[in-house]
């Protein structure tokens, strides 16, 4: 009887501790379960992010690859003057008045046309190839009057940045660049859509 009383007492005393113990272990288990699920989600998220990075890197590689593969085809068949038109960039001369940095698509098209024959070489009259001008002087351009709407294009050489573009009406055959508009350097000029070009130099 005495033993039973002791056990009852022991049982009563144990109750809060047992409750607390049970609750603590349950809490610990729950925390571990949740930790596992969160860890799993984080791992999945990292894998997803990794794939995104890999996909982006692969896309860049593919684009670079395509560029490397197709670039020689577009430039390989050109003559010297044509090649220069394809290699345009946006770091051209400073924009002033009509001096503009021209977008590339048109000049690329022009580059393709640049493979055409020299039969129209005499279309461009002045300045002649390798003419030299003083930056302080004006430069007069002269060409055979086109029968279609055309564009006078001047490109920096080397670099081939389009630094000037001027629309030409049908029948117009001259244009003058005012002194100081073009800085020192080598240039290539042409009348789009004709494919030929001429070099000239501006220096003191």
């Amino acid at each position: 009887m005495k033993k039973n009383d002791n056990l009852t007492k022991e049982g009563n005393q144990r109750t809060p501790l047992a409750d607390l113990w049970n609750e603590a272990v349950e809490y610990d288990r729950t925390k571990a379960e949740i930790g596992d699920i969160i860890g799993d989600e984080i791992r999945k998220e990292r894998i997803r992010n990794r794939w995104t990075v890999y996909s982006a890197a692969a896309s860049v590689l593919v684009l670079v690859g395509l560029f490397v593969i197709f670039r020689p085809f577009s430039s390989g068949s050109r003559d010297d003057s044509g090649a220069s038109f394809a290699q345009t960039d946006s770091t051209a001369l400073e924009d002033e008045g009509e001096l503009l940095i021209i977008d590339q698509p048109e000049s690329r098209e022009y580059a393709r046309l640049g493979t055409a024959s020299e039969s129209t070489a005499n279309l461009l009259k002045a300045p002649a190839d390798s003419s030299v001008f003083n930056p302080a002087g004006q430069i007069q351009f002269q060409w055979q009057a086109p029968t279609v709407a055309s564009v006078l294009i001047i490109q920096l050489h080397p670099g081939n940045s389009v630094v000037f573009r001027h629309p030409i009406k049908t029948g117009d055959s001259t244009f003058v660049i005012e002194p100081g508009k073009l800085g020192e350097g080598s240039y290539r000029w042409s009348v789009y859509p004709d494919t030929t070009s001429r070099m000239f130099i501006v220096r003191k």
Partner: protein, 206 residues
């Protein structure tokens, strides 16, 4: 307020209520998918909140894990009465965890008032953590026999009735009186350790 904004607001409230009910049901059923959904839906917001406290050692992930654990334990223990949405409940718990950490660091200044809501109960969980520390300090056989006696053995499924010593003896492959003696020895050790913890001792004396 226009009719459409009222409709939107009603829709949002209904949506929140629906997710609260779904979450509570899922948690009670121990559905892991529910935990995943809660993580995906609420972790970013809890993370932002934790970061606002600018406590270097406080990891948003740890706060979220602790907060969600407390929320789950409360729901399973029927202590969540549904007076607020599940998100508010979880947010409140996580915020209280952050505030507690904030107050520990005196250099952060005065501790703002804790959120008075269903989410209060930091002290209880601190007590549980103390018990877990004591449990870890016990050797494995002691943990095992106390778990068995307190019905925590995996799959015992008897939360309301403690396992008889005869059954414990079977599980541990010892005699029943040996199991009883071992349990009493372990309990003495546990009580001894608990006596060194003032708050735990006070709680047990109450």
């Amino acid at each position: 307020m226009s009719q459409s904004s009222v409709t939107n607001s009603n829709f949002r409230v209904q949506n929140t209520e629906r997710s609260t009910v779904e979450f509570v049901e899922g948690i009670r059923k121990n559905d892991q998918e529910t935990i995943r959904r809660i993580y995906k839906m609420y972790y970013p917001r809890i993370k932002s909140m934790v970061k606002e406290y600018r406590i270097r050692h406080l990891e948003p992930q740890d706060v979220f894990q602790e907060g969600l654990t407390r929320a789950v334990v409360s729901i399973r223990g029927d202590r969540f009465k549904g007076e607020s949405s599940f998100y508010s409940f979880l947010y409140g718990i996580c915020r209280n965890i952050c505030l507690k950490e904030y107050s520990k660091k005196s250099r952060y200044g005065e501790m703002p008032d804790q959120v008075e809501s269903e989410s209060s109960g930091n002290e209880r969980y601190e007590l549980l953590n103390r018990v877990l520390v004591l449990r870890e300090r016990l050797d494995r056989p002691c943990r095992e026999i106390i778990d068995l006696r307190f019905c925590l053995a995996q799959g015992s499924g008897q939360q309301d009735k403690c396992v008889e010593f005869e059954k414990i003896a079977e599980v541990l492959d010892v005699r029943a009186d040996n199991a009883r003696k071992r349990f009493q020895r372990c309990m003495d050790r546990l009580r001894e350790m608990a006596a060194g913890d003032q708050e735990l001792n006070e709680y047990l004396e109450d």
